[in-house]
């Protein structure tokens, strides 16, 4: 039973991590498919969300309004970024666009360092509650709430994409930008929408990870990279794929850290990515579809 309990423990940790990676990956896939930009600021949105929420809570604001405020600010920042940097350079080559987002990520990190400093921030949520016992494994309320919020946000994004007119337009743009434009959908507007939506999702991911791991000004890069891996595992083409990729990556990482040793956790994640890229460049979870040219 000992082994069973530790397996449950690893799975729970993995799913918690995975739900965060999934959120980052969803934002990443949205922007990538609508604008063709490999957006390195995705992880910085998470960092900003986490740091802002933690700062507001420290100032004495209740957790929920603090989070709402943090997400709103991140969304505004993303809209500004899209208008100022991405939209005005949309005729540039994909590589140049990557460098623009890399530059923007450096700017965000610098500004964050200026305002928040180098110290890690805590975001105390459910701290007084004792961990839950679940099939021999213990799970903190913070992890559990991360998992629940992750699922809710994913469902909300799904509903938005499937059930609303704006979401359908966004999906049309993801599938074929030119055809969508011919149908009267403005790619510029959709690009803005994709950035705003991915920033909101990213900020939420940051806020739910902060109570578990602490928030630091330079946490964004690693989150971006994990988001890339998750999105690539999922085939880089669809939100459901990205979610599955994120959960898979989280579980793989937790199992790797648990059974092999935590020192190799990050190496393992990138080796998995390389193997997937080399063996199945369309992703592990992609459905059969025609090649995108």
């Amino acid at each position: 039973m000992e082994g069973m309990a530790s397996l449950t423990q690893f799975l729970l940790v993995g799913l918690t991590l995975g739900s965060i990676y999934a959120l980052v990956a969803v934002g990443f896939v949205l922007v990538y498919n609508v604008t063709g930009v490999l957006n390195f600021t995705q992880g910085e949105f998470c960092m900003l969300g986490a740091m802002l929420a933690a700062t507001f809570v420290r100032l004495g604001i209740h957790f929920l309004p603090a989070s709402f405020l943090a997400v709103s600010i991140v969304v505004l920042a993303a809209a500004l970024l899209e208008r100022a940097a991405i939209s005005s350079a949309r005729k540039a080559t994909p590589l140049t666009l990557i460098f623009i987002t890399l530059g923007a990520a450096i700017v965000i990190r610098g500004v964050a360092l200026l305002f928040f400093g180098t110290e890690p921030y805590t975001l105390p949520v459910f701290q007084n509650l004792r961990p839950l016992q679940l099939a021999g494994a213990s799970v903190t309320w913070a992890s559990l709430s991360a998992l629940v919020v992750g699922v809710i946000v994913v469902l909300l994004v799904f509903l938005l994409l499937e059930r609303t007119m704006a979401g359908k337009a966004l999906r049309a743009c993801m599938i074929n930008r030119l055809a969508a434009q011919l149908m009267g959908i403005s790619p510029q507007l959709m690009s803005l929408l994709a950035f705003v939506l991915s920033a909101a999702v990213g900020a939420v991911a940051g806020i739910i990870i902060a109570p578990i791991t602490l928030a630091v000004y330079d946490m964004g890069l690693m989150l971006s990279l994990k988001g890339f891996i998750a999105a690539t595992l999922g085939g880089l083409a669809s939100a459901p794929g990205a979610i599955a990729g994120g959960l898979l990556l989280g579980v793989l990482e937790a199992l790797g850290a648990g059974y092999i040793g935590s020192g190799y956790k990050d190496v393992a994640a990138f080796i998995v990515l390389l193997i997937v890229l080399f063996v199945r460049p369309d992703g592990l979870i992609s459905a059969v579809r025609g090649e995108r040219v």
Partner: protein
């Protein structure tokens, strides 16, 4: 006409150690040279063959660590460690490039990026060999016939290597291979239809750029003589790629210009920002933010990099002069 900028650059590079006689400026000059070797390789790969690499620091690290480990742990001569590093990096590049170069566009960028990170994490993990996060120290300085190279001599060694590497790259670009590469850059399918073995060419170039990076890494190792994995992280790979892109990629000299610009920009910010801001963490923050802002602005306004921007300016000036000449002619008649 076009020879003048090159001649001036050569003259500037030759006289530089005597124009600014301080260890600080000499060190910067050496660093620009070392990075230029990496970036010239990247320009060939990214600018001419159109293949993005976001993991070039890994090969730089392979050169530096092969040299460092062989000389420190096994007492091998640096002059023997140098080819060893280049060979190791080339073999690894061939092994990684074989599957990776079948990927296109963003997927290749992601693959090289993850390769770079894997090497970085392993350097930190394998402390029995690399010294781990605390680094590798006690690397011997380079010496010729028993005499240790001093900084001015090291400067000329590095820039001599830059000249050699640039000359080789220039010859590649202006040969049949260069024309094939540009064909790959524009359309791989079209190049293949014309009988270009695109995969082989891309792989050869990938290996060559890795060899350049390893060569630069060795020169770096014997110059700083102490380093840790932090000198070869993701940030460094990105800086190399940004230097290449900033220079305009499709020109070897542009690459060197990109290196000099980025290196000097960082140094200027490091010197100027503390004057305006006293708090220590604010200085680092403003440096970072301003550096990022300048990058974003350059890539928005000069998507073809500095060399491309200069080219545009020249065409515009020539056109304006021609227009002015036309007007005066009209006025006369």
């Amino acid at each position: 006409m076009r020879k003048w900028p090159l001649l001036l650059t050569v003259l500037l590079v030759l006289l530089y150690p005597y124009l600014l006689q301080s260890t600080y400026f000499r060190t910067i000059g050496i660093f620009i040279g070392i990075r230029a070797i990496v970036v010239i390789g990247l320009c060939l790969l990214m600018g001419y063959a159109g293949q993005a690499s976001l993991g070039q620091a890994a090969f730089y690290a392979l050169g530096a660590y092969t040299s460092g480990v062989l000389t420190v742990r096994y007492g091998v001569s640096p002059w023997l460690a140098l080819p060893a590093g280049i060979i190791l990096a080339s073999v690894v590049a061939a092994a990684v490039g074989w599957p990776a170069l079948k990927l296109r566009g963003h997927f290749l960028a992601l693959a090289t990026l993850s390769f770079g990170l894997i090497v970085y994490f392993l350097l930190k993990q394998w402390s029995f060999l690399t010294g781990g996060p605390s680094g590798l120290s006690g690397i011997p300085a380079l010496s010729v016939a028993g005499a240790r190279l001093r900084s001015a001599e090291y400067y000329y060694l590095v820039w001599g290597t830059v000249a050699l590497v640039a000359w080789l790259a220039h010859n590649i670009v202006h040969s049949r291979i260069g024309r094939s590469l540009r064909a790959i850059h524009d359309s791989e399918t079209a190049a293949e239809c014309l009988g270009v073995d695109t995969f082989r060419l891309k792989l050869q170039l990938f290996v060559l750029s890795a060899a350049y990076a390893a060569l630069a890494g060795t020169l770096y190792a014997h110059f700083v003589r102490f380093f840790s994995p932090a000198a070869f992280g993701f940030k460094v790979s990105i800086e190399f790629a940004i230097m290449a892109a900033l220079g305009g990629m499709a020109s070897i000299y542009g690459g060197v210009l990109g290196v000099a610009t980025v290196t000097l920009l960082i140094e200027v910010l490091r010197a100027v920002v503390p004057l305006a801001l006293p708090a220590a963490h604010a200085v680092a923050a403003v440096e970072t933010a301003v550096f990022g802002l300048i990058l974003v602005a350059v890539f928005i306004f000069l998507p073809d990099g500095l060399a491309g921007g200069a080219q545009q300016l020249r065409t515009r000036l020539v056109a304006r002069r021609a227009a002015a000449a036309g007007q005066t002619k009209e006025a006369r008649s």
